[in-house]
């Protein structure tokens, strides 16, 4: 039986539990509350406060421990004390402990872009540069008495427990706004894993669906086809009344196309409502057993504490059991249809999933902004456009546009390179070495982008700085420049010579008359004169063409001037 109480102003849940006593303190803050420039700050605070692993999720950060009542009271009081004074030394220590690279889940970025729930897909860029002030501000906003909940599983709440937290306000969960124009959608994911996620209404039917899906995937991909080592699903309820369901299949070597095909078939099967009453019955039974077991260990408490923070009712075991038991195959089929329609596939390999009726998730921008054009050095395909609204990078058909009013962050390297990341996760990279007069663009970007969106990156090795591409094209360049010039000179001389000659003959003809001259008669004079005019026109035309070509080349080298 779960009872509600309050400890030092923090709402708390208590329930008796078998086994050792345990307790946790949860705050309504997670990666979805971070921005790209602050990506990683929540987990840093988690490490700052406790050496033992806590947990930072999209919406919640909690500190959990097991032990005697005294140990638990000491641990939780210690958490609160540590949150009170984050010193620079301790920030540096925490940073040291966090160096191991972490697996990132690419799906949220494709669904939500570089905001809210999508932020979790990005590297923890903030870690190296976080200041004591930034950490202090983050704690003051999120790690407060009003934004916390406590759970204790055991005989009683430890007597010596005090939670000395700063005052603050309860923070609602961020709004989840998708950037996908159409679903079901797909994108190309990393090799070796076929993945899928969806967002549905949060209820027992959705939880049962997630388990049914896992069983089907294991059966089809692992047991029957042998294309995946394993397949699993996760059901992640959210504060806003939705739930994310994630499915991942780890392919055996060489099996990723089969894992994707099998996943697509299983999803189609469930969407069509091919769900067995017996199968649902089995899952419901297992879920019921699991809930009872969780209740006896106090393992349902964290989820209920999250509910408290979201302003949702605390659910008793009987209520939870009744909700699960009421789930029918029809309910699961309804969830499956909604889940399929909102689905996002992560397809390994290069084949995509359009063949199965999924829409490609956008990989680039649709519009190129107006502004000053900087051409690529030695690469005519490459253009960088800098305008008052933002930056566009165009390479052939690929367009990356980031508007300044929808910019999530700018990565800034000491060598001048800038990478703008739009809220829709599209990136525009300014590499000064690759464009003509790109220093101007770097200057524009630094002027327009506020300091709070800037992420300082460590210096790059020389060989990591891209160099203008094909050397062959640059070698051709002088030839290209020189050829029309030589043509112009030669053809120009010839024109002058021939026209002068023709005029000479004409003058001779008119002044001296046919008899006194070198040539025999008027006809010959006429012939020479008209031949000179014809040939002169011809060479003159060549000279004019090369002059035009020369002018064009000069303009191409200095686009800023021509615009």
């Amino acid at each position: 039986m779960i009872t509600r109480l309050e400890v030092d102003g923090v709402p708390a849940l208590h329930a008796p539990a078998d086994g050792p006593m345990h307790a946790g303190l949860v705050f309504r803050v997670g990666t979805a509350d971070e921005t790209l420039p602050l990506r990683g700050i929540t987990r840093l605070i988690e490490h700052l406060v406790t050496g033992a692993p806590g947990s930072t999720g999209p919406e919640h950060t909690y500190f959990h421990t097991r032990g005697t009542p005294t140990e638990i009271a000491d641990f939780l009081s210690g958490v609160c004390t540590a949150l009170r004074n984050p010193s620079a030394d301790r920030i540096a220590e925490a940073r040291e402990r966090m160096t191991a690279p972490r697996d990132r889940d690419p799906l949220p970025m494709w669904r939500y872009g570089a905001r809210s729930y999508g932020v979790a897909s990005y590297p923890e860029w903030a870690l190296p540069g976080l200041t004591t002030d930034q950490v202090g501000d983050w704690i003051a906003r999120w790690f407060t008495r009003a934004n916390a909940a406590l759970w204790v599983a055991g005989d009683e709440v430890p007597g010596g427990l005090s939670l000395d937290l700063a005052d603050g306000t309860r923070q609602p969960a961020p709004r989840a706004v998708t950037v996908l124009p159409a679903t079901p959608a797909w994108f190309t994911g990393p090799d070796g894993t076929a993945g899928w996620d969806t967002v549905v209404h949060r209820d027992a039917g959705a939880a049962v669906f997630a388990t049914v899906l896992e069983r089907r995937l294991q059966h089809e991909l692992r047991d029957r086809a042998g294309v995946a080592e394993d397949a699993r699903t996760e059901y992640e309820p959210r504060a806003d009344g939705t739930a994310r369901i994630l499915a991942l299949a780890e392919a055996v070597p060489g099996g990723q196309d089969g894992a994707l095909g099998g996943l697509i078939d299983v999803l189609a099967e469930l969407r069509a409502g091919r769900i067995d009453e017996d199968e649902v019955g089995t899952v419901v039974k297992h879920t019921g057993v699991g809930l009872r077991d969780a209740e006896s260990r106090g393992a349902r408490l964290p989820g209920q504490a999250f509910n408290l923070l979201a302003g949702r009712a605390v659910q008793t075991l009987d209520e939870a059991l009744a909700e699960v038991r009421a789930v029918t195959a029809g309910d699961v089929a309804a969830v499956a249809t909604a889940a399929y329609d909102a689905g996002l596939l992560m397809a390994p390999g290069t084949g995509g999933a359009d063949w199965a009726g999924y829409t490609a998730a956008p990989t680039m921008s649709e519009t190129v902004l107006d502004g000053r054009t900087h051409r690529g050095r030695g690469d005519r395909n490459l253009r960088l456009i800098s305008g008052a609204d933002g930056i566009s990078v165009v390479e052939g058909d690929v367009v990356g546009t980031v508007r300044y009013d929808a910019c999530a962050a700018v990565l800034a390297w000491p060598d001048g390179a800038r990478q703008l990341i739009g809220e829709d996760a599209v990136m525009a990279r300014v590499e000064p070495t690759l464009y003509r007069d790109a220093e101007q663009v770097v200057h524009d970007v630094d002027q327009w982008i506020p300091e709070r969106l800037r992420i300082g990156m460590p210096p790059r090795d020389r060989d990591r700085i891209p160099q203008p591409r094909p050397a062959t094209e640059r070698e051709e360049e002088p030839v290209d420049t020189r050829r029309p010039l030589i043509t112009l000179l030669v053809a120009g001389m010839a024109t002058l010579f021939v026209v002068a000659g023709g005029l000479g003959v004409l003058t001779m003809m008119l002044t001296q008359g046919p008899s006194g001259g070198v040539l025999g008669d008027v006809g010959e004079y006429g012939l020479v004169a008209s031949a000179s005019v014809l040939f002169g026109t011809f060479t003159g035309r060549i000279a004019l063409d090369s002059a035009v070509e020369l002018r064009r080349q000069q303009h191409a080298r200095n686009p800023a001037r021509s615009d």
Partner: protein, 314 residues
């Protein structure tokens, strides 16, 4: 085409857009005959609207899914075989991709409703190949086919073709598949035809050397390991009794003719009986194409080879 296909009741029923009539014929056929019949009528023109309407009325009708899927795949092959003059836009790649996607989506839905329909899983092997979905996905579909109907020869031919290498690849996986499948087949089956078909396709893969197809194929077949394998496959199979019997006999008759093994060729022609000679259309009951057409004019090549093998005996 199957024996006198245009007079076949299925042909008549599809042409008349009589779905109950189509189902009556197809439901009465054995699984392999059913797949072959579906393929035999899949090329009939203007049946997409008819089949779409049937599926709309009953999305669970696997036969309609299979036939519509095969029809779209047939159109892909027809477009690929078209010649485009240089002055016309070549949009064949876009057209075929779009048709392949539609075929695949029809077949996905069909397989969902009828997970044990071998005609659907056979067609999905063809679409997987056309869409280049990869070897693991092809194998997964083949396993689903086997689970639905073990020894389903039409689909096994599709699997065999999907194992054919591109330029410079190895033929060994295809031959190995043919050997193993033939060895595992039930007695009386025509599965040995896979071995002969793989060798004929292999032998003719690169025929452009100023020689006739007969000469090129003969030069390939007389290699000792090839000859021995064909002989072994014929001996192990015996004479098939059911589906694909004529196709089997013809493939081996052709091989033995080119190998100069007249007695063996004569045995094959003998088993065919006289009907085959009267109706050359009947030769290809495997749906794998009339093998004699590979050498030139099918009727002429068949007649000449039969004459030579049976000699004075007939």
């Amino acid at each position: 085409m199957l024996p006198a296909m245009s007079a076949h009741p299925l042909h008549t029923a599809v042409s008349a857009q009589d779905w109950p009539g189509c189902r009556a014929v197809l439901d009465a056929a054995g699984p392999m005959e059913r797949t072959a019949l579906i393929r035999a009528v899949a090329g009939l023109p203007d049946i997409e609207g008819f089949l779409t309407a049937v599926l709309r009325a009953d999305p669970a009708d696997g036969t309609a899914s299979a036939l519509l899927g095969e029809h779209l795949l047939h159109r892909v092959r027809a477009i690929r075989a078209e010649d485009r003059p240089w002055y016309e836009l070549d949009d064949r790649a876009t057209l075929t991709r779009e048709l392949l996607c539609r075929a695949e989506q029809t077949l996905i839905d069909g397989a969902v409703q009828n997970p044990a329909d071998p005609a659907i899983w056979s067609a999905r092997l063809v679409s997987a190949h056309g869409l280049d979905l990869g070897p693991a996905e092809t194998r997964r579909r083949y396993q689903r086919l086997l689970a639905a109907a073990p020894d389903h020869l039409p689909g096994q031919f599709d699997m065999l073709r999907s194992l054919y290498p591109g330029r410079d690849g190895s033929w060994e996986p295809a031959h190995e598949f043919a050997r193993e499948t033939a060895a595992a087949a039930p007695p009386g089956g025509a599965h040995g035809a896979l071995v002969a078909a793989a060798h004929i396709d292999h032998g003719l893969v690169d025929p452009d050397r100023g020689l006739s197809h007969t000469e090129v194929l003969t030069a390939y077949l007389v290699q000792e390991p090839v000859r021995a394998e064909i002989q072994r496959a014929a001996e192990r199979s015996g004479v098939p009794t059911g589906y694909g019997r004529l196709g089997f006999l013809n493939l081996f008759a052709l091989c033995f003719t080119l190998l100069g093994d007249q007695p063996a060729a004569a045995r094959m022609f003998d088993h065919m009986g006289d009907r085959a000679a009267e109706d050359p259309e009947a030769l290809d009951d495997l749906g794998a194409g009339n093998p004699w057409a590979r050498l030139g004019d099918a009727v002429h090549e068949f007649g000449e080879a039969r004459e030579r093998a049976l000699g004075g005996a007939k």
